[in-house]
Structure formats: structure tokens, C-alpha cells
């Protein structure tokens, strides 16, 4: 068994590195430990538009990344430790998270924290979630990974993951919101580095942990995978399952009802209903047609409306779309 403390904090690079190792290192067990700068990570089959506040995300520039495992949306920052465990898949333990979370619970125990497995795949302290876990199985191998809220900013977590008002309709996997807490609140004194050390001890036992080193050529392939997949709009936004969205808002003194159908992140159909005055001002019949094919992005829709009307009206109209 080998381990790797990922040196980078770029969520796109780290996801690419995790996938690369899962696909290419098939003969050994691997433990990966990694942290990302502030970012939002959605599950593989989620509708990103349903999970985050798109306007806030685009304005703040916070990275949104789609991972290769199922489940819901999580917020990452440097106070959150991610761990990945890659090994041969044992069909007898399919969807049994116990073998994978047990070492984590033991590691927390060695720091004096009493944690327990909760629901199928969470770890909690006194009923509050500190870890979410998910898995992917391919070619006889399993990748299990999880988050560990050590000292994360739980306030920002709430803000970014709150979509605007409006009704979504899709078959996407939805997040299940849980009450969360930080591990640090239950320790007298400890650092995230100490948590890493305890995790290594729990997985390796008395065996000396062997570090994994990738060659320059391999690292180059990871960078290429990052560019080709993980950083692309097509993967992060375009992979959202198709969905419908309905919202009623106000713009230019009129009630505005918007109905959208979005496929692969692009507006596929659009309906705008408003009173006659506004209809003439914004030429809503024409707008409905021209919006088809445009990315369902706050910036893109705002730019579209800004071309033909005052900015404040464009902003109010755009708000009706999200």
C-alpha cells in the first residue's frame, strides 16, 4: 500500500490526479490525502444549477467542479481534508461503507474524538455530520473518497449552496442537507496535519507508509486530463441532466413569468410572460427565440439583455431566470 499527500490545492487538478491514479495504478492499494482552496464540488449526476447559487458563484469566481462519484454537493476549503482510498473491489461488500469509514473513525478515536457512522455513508459526532463519503467502481477496482470537516468555514458553505427561488424539475440526484460541524470543536488542541498523521497510522498500522511518486510524464498526463475534462464548462456545467425551471419575478414594474428548458447547460426552450408594456419594451417574443442555444449562465443571459435595454432592467429580467 502507498500514500500520496497531494501537493496542489487546485480542485480540478486534484480530481484529475485522483482519476489518473484510479485508472492507471491497478496493482496496489492507494491512500490519497488532499485539500482544496475554496470550491464547490457536485456529485457526478447532479444538476449544478439546482445545487448552487449561480449568480453568486459567477460573481465570486468560486470554482465549481464535478467529481466522478455519486451523492450530493459539498463545499471545500483548506479546513476540509479529503481522503481517497483505492483498492480492489470486493462484490460482497458492495455499498457497504463500513470497511472504508472504520479506519477514519479509529483515527478520530486516537485523537480523543468519539465519532460514529451515520446513515449509510456519513460520519458524525454527536449527530452532526463531519464526513460525507461516496464511491465509484470500474474494472474490478473501487475508489472510495470522503470529506472531513476539520476547521472549515461553515457559513460560506450555507451561502454558496443556496440557489435562488424558482422551481426546478429534473431527474437529477439531489443533495440531502445535514447539520454539519467541525472536528476541531471537539478537540482541545490539534491541527489538520495531526489528523493526517492519525489517518496514515489507522490505514497503515505498524507498516511504514510508502510514499507514491509520479514521474514527470505521468504528471504531464494529469495536467492534460485537467485541461481536457475537469476544468471545462462542458464537464462541470454541461453534464447537468436536462431540466425545466419556472420562476415568477418582477422587472420594469411588471410581473414576469419565466419558463425554461435546459439541455447540456444550454437554453433549449424559453417562455417569457409579462404585461403588454414590458413586452413591447423588451420584445419578449423575439427574446424567447434568440435565447435558445445560449448557455444557462447569469453572465450570458445578462449580457444578452444588456444589448437591447438599460442595465438595471436587464439585471431585473436576468434575476427572473435564476
Amino acid at each position: 500500500m502507498k500514500y500520496l499527500k497531494m501537493p496542489e490545492s487546485d480542485v480540478y487538478y486534484n480530481l484529475a490526479l485522483e482519476e489518473y491514479l484510479f485508472d492507471h495504478y491497478k496493482d496496489e492499494d492507494l491512500l490519497l490525502l488532499w485539500k482544496n482552496h475554496d470550491s464547490i464540488v457536485v456529485g457526478k449526476y447532479q444538476n449544478v444549477y439546482q445545487e448552487v447559487n449561480i449568480k453568486q458563484v459567477e460573481e465570486s469566481g468560486i470554482p465549481v467542479a464535478r467529481r466522478n462519484t455519486g451523492g450530493g454537493t459539498v463545499f471545500h476549503d483548506k479546513g476540509n481534508l479529503n481522503y481517497s482510498f483505492i483498492t480492489d473491489h470486493d462484490p460482497k461488500t458492495f455499498s457497504d461503507y463500513e470497511p472504508f469509514v472504520e479506519p477514519v473513525i479509529r483515527a478520530l478515536g486516537s485523537l480523543g474524538v468519539s465519532a460514529e457512522k451515520r446513515n449509510k455513508s456519513d460520519i458524525a459526532i454527536q449527530g452532526k455530520k463531519i464526513s460525507g463519503n461516496a464511491q465509484t467502481i470500474k474494472g474490478g477496482r473501487i475508489l472510495h473518497h470522503g470529506t472531513l470537516l476539520f476547521d472549515a468555514d461553515l457559513e460560506s458553505l450555507g451561502d454558496a449552496l443556496r440557489p435562488g427561488s424558482g422551481v426546478f424539475s429534473s431527474k437529477a440526484v439531489e443533495s440531502i442537507r445535514s447539520q454539519v460541524t467541525n472536528i476541531k470543536d471537539y478537540l482541545r488542541e490539534a491541527t489538520i496535519d495531526q489528523l493526517e498523521t492519525c489517518l496514515l497510522k489507522a490505514y497503515f498500522g505498524d507498516e511504514k507508509p510508502q510514499p507514491l511518486a509520479l514521474s514527470d510524464a505521468e504528471l504531464e498526463e494529469v495536467s492534460l486530463l485537467r485541461e481536457a475534462k475537469y476544468i471545462t464548462w462542458e464537464w462541470n456545467y454541461g453534464r447537468s441532466p436536462e431540466f425545466s425551471f419556472q420562476k415568477t419575478g418582477w422587472a420594469g414594474g411588471s410581473k414576469v413569468a419565466v419558463e425554461l428548458h435546459v439541455k447540456k447547460g444550454l437554453i433549449a426552450a424559453c417562455g417569457i410572460c409579462c404585461d403588454e408594456d414590458l413586452e413591447q419594451k423588451i420584445d419578449s417574443q423575439c427574446a424567447q427565440r434568440l435565447l435558445v442555444g445560449i448557455p444557462y449562465s447569469y453572465t450570458a443571459v445578462y449580457e444578452f439583455f444588456s444589448q437591447t435595454m438599460r442595465r438595471d432592467l436587464a439585471a431585473a429580467l436576468t434575476d427572473c431566470f435564476f
Binding site: 456529485g43 457526478k44 449526476y45 466522478n68 462519484t69 455519486g70 451523492g71 462484490p91 458492495f94 455499498s95 457497504d96 449509510k120 455513508s121 463519503n133 461516496a134 464511491q135 465509484t136 467502481i137 470500474k138 474494472g139 429534473s170 431527474k171 437529477a172 440526484v173 441532466p241
Partner: protein, 79 residues
């Protein structure tokens, strides 16, 4: 010859899975071992591989559908 690919029973207690993604389109050529579709159950994602070469002749469910174990999900027309 037609080759029917069913929703696999991935654990003794599994009754159904969600077909979360198709990796191939109708009439697209398929090679043995290529990922045909993906299933999610209990936050575990499984990539289901094609068992033979051929063409994807039928897609019996769409993305997001919950499919019972044993139901036919795809039909490959072998060449």
C-alpha cells in the same frame, strides 16, 4: 445476434438502480469492454461495460430512470 444487457444485481439486497448516464448513443458502434451506461445506487457509481462488439440497437430507459434489477436496459446488435 441480439445481446440484452440487464440492470445488474450489484449486492444481495439491491432491488433497483438509477440509470444515471448513457455513454453511447443509439446506433453508435460499441466495443467489448467500453462503458455503455452508468448506474448509481447508495451513492456508489458503477460503470457497466459492453460484453461484446456491435451496435447499440436499443436504449430501453432514459437518464434518471429507476430500473429494477434484471430489466433489460440496452440491446447490442452483434456484428
Amino acid at each position: 445476434m441480439e445481446n440484452k444487457i440487464q440492470m445488474p444485481k450489484m449486492s444481495p439486497s439491491m432491488e433497483a438502480g438509477v440509470l444515471v448516464a448513457w455513454n453511447k448513443e443509439l446506433e453508435e458502434p460499441v466495443r467489448e469492454g467500453e462503458v455503455l451506461f452508468e448506474v448509481e445506487t447508495d451513492k456508489v457509481v458503477c460503470e457497466i461495460e459492453a460484453p461484446c462488439d456491435g451496435v447499440l440497437a436499443e436504449m430501453c430507459y432514459s437518464e434518471g430512470d429507476r430500473v429494477k434489477v434484471g430489466e433489460t436496459v440496452a440491446v447490442i446488435q452483434e456484428r
